[in-house]
């Protein structure tokens, strides 16, 4: 399928495109020419076995790993040469593998850290954002064309009510599922236009996974396009408009969940 096709169908603008994306750890090449598209408001799943390069892909997209000119385009702008903290402020939020909460910060403080990357509040850099949070400066007004309500502490607490109860606990004193909620909430606090979720169901009980995925419609409704990385194929295909299957640093299959047969997916996943 052609990379531009899904956008042609929905007419939505692309928010993320990669072309021939390669990524390296020193001499080791982890990604070999990934072509990937994400349209505004879309949810796309990336599936693939251990070591397929899913996390590496997300890292390259948000600038943690260096990329070649033209390889990653976000909101029509190339990101090559930009450090991660600048890419993130363009409106991308990452919920990293393993949650990566700040252990010395409370739940609420962890959430507030996420707000520092808000493109609206951080237009003058994070110092201004910090000043804004302190009430020392006026935050930039939200763009007028955003109809959906913006994410803030109350919004996140309404999405995950248990976090409101636990707001003053250290982030890492919570259960795994609750920690994952903090990690997602922290990402939402920046009001991202793209949310990247890396294995948010890993190690969690099925009922908890259901609770967490139940938040997805609301996140989408507020205007974020979502990339979910999962090893659990069923979970990923259930929420996604489209999927990409990675194998050893390459896209081995892409399509819509209903269209590909399970045999095709299994072959693309494990390598036939």
């Amino acid at each position: 399928m052609s990379a531009a096709e899904p956008m042609a169908e929905t007419g939505a603008r692309p928010v993320l495109a990669t072309r021939g994306l390669e990524a390296f750890y020193g001499d080791f090449q982890a990604l070999f020419g990934i072509d990937f598209d994400l349209a505004e408001g879309e949810t796309v799943a990336i599936i693939g076995a251990n070591g397929a390069g899913k996390t590496t892909f997300l890292r390259a997209v948000c600038g943690v790993l260096a990329t070649a000119p033209g390889a990653v385009t976000l909101f029509g702008e190339q990101t090559a040469g930009k450090p991660a903290h600048e890419v993130v402020r363009m409106g991308v939020a990452m919920t990293p593998e393993g949650r990566q909460l700040f252990p010395s910060l409370t739940v609420e403080e962890n959430l507030k850290m996420g707000a520092l990357a808000d493109p609206a509040a951080a237009s003058g850099g994070w110092v201004e954002a910090a000043r804004a949070k302190l009430g020392l400066a006026q935050p930039a007004p939200a763009p007028a064309d955003t109809a959906a309500p913006r994410w803030d502490l109350d919004g996140v607490y309404d999405l995950f009510p248990i976090l409101r109860e636990r707001r003053d606990h250290p982030g890492t004193a919570l259960s795994g599922g609750q920690q994952q909620m903090v990690a997602i909430g922290r990402s939402l606090m920046s009001n991202p236009r793209i949310l990247l979720c890396d294995e948010i169901s890993l190690g969690l009980a099925p009922t908890i996974i259901k609770d967490i995925y139940a938040a997805m419609p609301e996140i989408r409704a507020r205007g974020a396009a979502i990339v979910v990385v999962e090893q659990d194929i069923q979970q990923a295909l259930a929420v996604a408009d489209r999927f990409y299957c990675f194998q050893e640093g390459r896209v081995s299959l892409t399509g819509r969940p209903g269209e590909a047969s399970l045999d095709d997916i299994a072959a693309a996943y494990f390598g036939a």
Binding site: P103, S104, L105, L116, H169, P170
Partner: protein
């Protein structure tokens, strides 16, 4: 009474040791950098104050109005221009570079100020004392201690209550995740180094009023700072204050037994703590 007096002096000088230690511990906490030039930066603060005092005729304490911002800028620039490049998985490069920096500062001070010992003249407050029965407390040592408590209390509030303090703690936890929050960790490191050098400036001025200093005085301050940090436990500011006080009291008791024992007594207590409680007496407790 002699003993009580000696111990009291030890407590008060402990505040100064805690100030030496606070900046060192802040930098280690935020960026895992062991700044071997820390003692020399304190002495640099004292010499900058000397230059301002002789040049403008200001009182040493007022000279901080100039010296503190200068030191902040110096720390910020130093971090951005040099130290940020040394940070990575390997702990050795920052050690080597800050060791080199220590030698450069000492030689620069020798060049500019000569090897003479200097003193910051603070006027009558140097000799004033409060008399309570047989106990006499020097006004200046008391002021030093109050300043130390205020600086450490202020830092603690800053870390707990402000957005920037929160960023410092987050960076200390996971510097590699902080960019995902839209924050440039190198900028955080630079601000932290600036803050550390402001504390160095305050400590340097208090040191310079209290005793003679010379360009080579830095390494001994670094050693006291290390000892206070390790005794108190890494990452806890009040622990650092306690560490400084314990070190000060140990030295005072040592000196009382035999003047030659002063420094040695501090080292012995430091070693004892290291053996019995390697994590220090009051290591950071994460949950409040």
């Amino acid at each position: 009474m002699d003993w009580i007096n000696a111990i009291l002096q030890g407590v008060l000088v402990g505040g100064l040791f805690a100030l030496f230690a606070a900046g060192l511990s802040l930098i280690f906490g935020v960026m895992r950098l062991v700044n071997l030039a820390h003692g020399d930066l304190i002495v640099l603060g004292a010499f900058l104050a000397l230059a301002v005092v002789t040049g403008l005729g200001l009182h040493p304490l007022l000279s901080l109005l100039i010296v503190a911002p200068v030191m902040f800028a110096l720390g910020y620039g130093l971090q951005r221009a040099i130290l940020n490049r040394t940070l990575g998985k390997d702990l050795l490069p920052p050690l080597v570079v800050t060791f080199g920096l220590s030698i450069i500062i000492q030689n620069a001070l020798l060049e500019v100020f000569s090897a003479d010992t200097q003193r910051l003249q603070a006027g009558p407050m140097e000799t004033a004392s409060l008399q309570m029965g047989a106990i006499s407390i020097g006004a200046f040592p008391l002021l030093t201690f109050i300043v130390a408590v205020a600086v450490i209390g202020g830092m603690e509030l800053f870390m707990r209550r402000t957005a920037l303090g929160r960023v410092f703690r987050a960076t200390s936890d996971k510097a590699e995740i902080v960019p995902l929050m839209g924050v440039n960790p190198k900028q955080v490191f630079a601000i932290a180094m600036g803050v550390s050098l402001v504390i160095c400036a305050i400590a340097g001025v208090l040191l310079g009023v209290r005793t003679n200093f010379s360009p080579g005085a830095g390494p001994a301050r670094l050693l006291f700072a290390f000892e206070a940090v390790i005794i108190g436990g890494l990452g806890s500011l009040w622990g650092t204050l306690a560490g400084g006080v314990i070190l000060g009291v140990s030295q005072a008791i040592g000196a009382k037994i035999n003047p030659g024992f002063q420094i040695l007594a501090g080292h012995i207590v430091f070693l004892a703590v290291l053996v019995v409680r390697p994590q220090g007496l009051f290591p950071r407790t994460r949950d409040k």
